[in-house]
Amino acid sequence: MRTKPTTYRFWNQQQKIAPYLFIAPFYILFVVFMGFPLISSLVMSLYEMRGFQSRIFVGIGNFTDLFGDPIFWKSLKNTAYFAVGTLTLQLPIALLLAILLNSKYVRGKNILRLAFFAPVLVAGVFVAIIFNLVYDERSGLVNNEFLVLGKQIGWLNEENYVMPAVILTGVWQWAGFNMIYFLAGLQGIRQELYEAAAVDGANWWQAFLHITLPSLRPVIAFVFVVSMIGSLQLFDLPYILTNGGEPADAGSTIVMYLYKNGFQFMRLGYAATIGWVLFFIIAIISIVQLRLLGIFRDE
């Protein structure tokens, strides 16, 4: 028996009240640190700060300004470029690594798993500093050791190469992390399915297409959505790697532009507007992605 009967009314009621009390800390923290700031930032997006203490109501003025702001569109384009690069380059590489590490023919799996996973343990700032050296146009490792193209590529100095440099750095840092998800998914597929397919004469590719991929669907959906959200929120890597988006905003992302407006330009209303536009972009893309991958479908 967990409680003793008592004559006090409170103790009689506590069975009903206690569960709410126990879940209350989460809701109190949520309201204070999430709910209130969310509503407050929505309100803020309708205002513009006038110095530190006063503000002025501008209605949807911040939203109309934003849609006519070329740097916002450039930042959006760069962010989308990174997201597409991540999904088309990083995730296939992560899946490939997972398949290799899941293969019975590969030796030293633990060491390889650690090696591929290790980059994610390095803070983004250090990654950016290291890759600054790696990408240097004239003395960097990439131009001097790997590329024999007869052309020194200005990875961080030429506008067209800045985002590819950021994407490749992202691959180095995050492919191993996503590989772990895929590996977990692969290890959850029942071996009997492959054995049955082999008996039926299926080759490796057919087994991959008809067993591996469909079985991995929930994992792929999860990794896709999480990677997409992470990509759209990209900030620290390009901020350090490109010294705040230089040259000519070629490395600017939405969150970087939000940060600059909020903290460097003291345009908090405008920054809140960028935040809300980003929220809607992420929400719409995530819903579309999940629908396309059939996550909402009844099995």
Binding site: R2, T3, K4, W11, Q14, A18, F22, E48, M49, R50, G51, F52, Q53, S54, I56, V58, G61, N132, L133, D136, E137, R138, S139, G140, L156, N157, T242, N243, G244, E246, P247, A248, D249, K260, F263, Q264, F265, M266, L268
Partner: protein, 452 residues
């Protein structure tokens, strides 16, 4: 055996929740039951590691001289300015004293002048006679609309640091260079393809074409700026356009300048290029010499310094780059004591001499300049007394007028410089576009809330 004084099983939902409740109560008591340290307390925020080392040694001396005063010195690093902004916005939690970096101060000046979160220090400076004792032009970055919101930590005069050995090898005596025309002539001799492979191996100067740092230094040397004293945008003035034309010509026409290796002058790749002899000179403020000493000590003896080449014979031979101020926030509960600490850290001669020893930073307090240390030969510069050179140049520093729109302006100026150097736009087009954008931004704000 130890027994709890109460029956834990009788507690609603049992022993576990009781333990949680006890822990909650104990931690609450611990958090809220702490007594404040006795005596007065001052909080001092900074962002620079080198300053932290200096003040860490100075604070105990101040505390010893002022019994009962506790100074909380906090180094927040690069995040400090954002924390300060948040504390000023919420009107809660700001320190008594704070150091602010020159490119960050503009955002704190937005809005009505009475809403600025810093105390106007002009009355204290004037009543105690400090203005005459400091380099007056150095107050411009920290002043706005006649009020002084900060006291300069430094002067940051700029010299031309050059590789004497390599210029001499090219037949150039740099001490004879007086104007930028002389420098171009010297630079053309020194910029060379040493192994005849068709590629230039050493450039006369390294310049940053991605950010405003070098261009803006040159513009200030000319007596120009982004904003004038009244806050008007003057970045499309003929002076500014001429300066950008000159800057781009160093790369594209005279071909004696190379873009900075990496993303800025302090990048390890840039230091590597210096060591490899690919870079023969650089525009160097005092703090940059300090960085070179700590980052590439192996280059000791290879550098020498001359005053910057002038735009015209007899013209200004220096400029200024970078800077830090100390300000007192309006949230300070003890402004008089804070003012004493401020004076102790910024106006104390022995402290300023110590500052030069560790960071090579020349102080704005003129009475400190006759200290013997500034005349001492500098081994890093092959025995040249660098402090003396900086001090000779210090009285001629150009003013740099501060403006709330500096951050937005500088961000766009970076793009304009890059566009001009990479010949996407002419210098005139780039700066005219830039000035129009910044004027439109200001006009829009003024349209919303009127003149401030």
């Amino acid at each position: 055996m130890f027994r709890l004084p109460i029956d834990a099983e009788a507690f609603p939902l049992g022993k576990g929740p009781m333990v949680m409740l006890v822990l909650f109560l104990v931690s609450t008591l611990f958090i809220f039951g702490r007594t404040e340290q006795e005596g007065e307390s001052l909080e001092f925020w900074i962002f620079a590691n080198t300053h932290y080392e200096e003040y860490q040694a100075r604070v105990p001396i101040f505390e010893a001289q002022n019994p009962g005063v506790n100074v909380h010195l906090i180094n927040f690093g690069n995040t400090m300015h954002d924390k300060l902004l948040a504390s000023m916005l919420s009107n809660f939690g700001a320190p008594d004293l704070v150091e602010v970096e020159i490119t960050s101060i503009g955002r704190f000046l937005k809005g009505a002048i009475d809403e600025v979160g810093f105390v106007d220090l002009r009355p204290r400076l004037e009543s105690e006679g400090w203005m005459e004792k400091l380099v007056v032009s150095r107050f411009t970055p920290w002043s706005y609309r006649g009020r002084i919101f900060g006291i300069p930590h430094d002067l940051h005069p700029v010299v031309l640091l050059y590789r004497d050995d390599l210029f001499k090898a090219a037949g150039v005596e740099m001490t004879e260079v007086e104007t930028w025309d002389d420098f171009i002539a010297a630079g053309k001799k020194a910029t060379r393809d040493l192994d005849d492979d068709g590629e230039i191996d050493q450039y006369a100067i390294v310049l940053d074409r991605r950010t405003e740092s070098d261009y803006f230094s040159l513009l200030l040397q000319q007596g120009g700026g982004f904003f004038d004293e009244e806050g008007n945008v003057i970045i499309d003035s003929e002076l500014a356009i001429e300066t950008l034309e000159f800057f781009t010509a160093l790369f594209n026409e005279h071909e004696i300048a190379t873009p900075v290796y990496g993303t800025w002058h302090g990048d390890p790749s840039n230091f590597a290029a210096m060591q490899d002899g690919k870079i023969l000179s650089i525009l160097a403020p005092d703090w940059y010499v300090g960085i070179l000493k700590s980052q590439v000590p192996q280059m000791a003896g290879k550098w020498k310094a001359i005053p910057m080449p002038a735009w015209h014979p007899g013209g200004r031979r220096t400029t200024t780059r970078g800077g830090t101020m100390i300000g007192m926030t309006k949230q300070s509960r003890n402004p008089d004591r804070a003012w004493e600490l401020l004076k102790f850290t910024y106006f104390d001669r022995s402290g300023l001499v110590n500052r030069y020893e560790t960071t090579r930073i020349i102080p704005p307090l003129k009475s400190a300049w006759d200290a013997p240390i500034f005349k001492e030969p500098d081994t890093y510069l092959g025995g040249q007394p660098l402090g003396d050179l900086f001090i000779q140049l210090a009285p001629d520093l150009p003013p740099r007028y501060q403006n709330p729109y500096w951050s937005e302006g500088a961000d766009l100026l970076n793009d304009a410089i890059f566009a001009a150097v990479t010949e996407k736009q002419t210098p005139r087009e780039a700066l005219t576009d830039l000035a129009e954008k910044v004027r439109a931004l200001i006009a829009k704000d003024q349209g919303r809330w009127g003149e401030l």
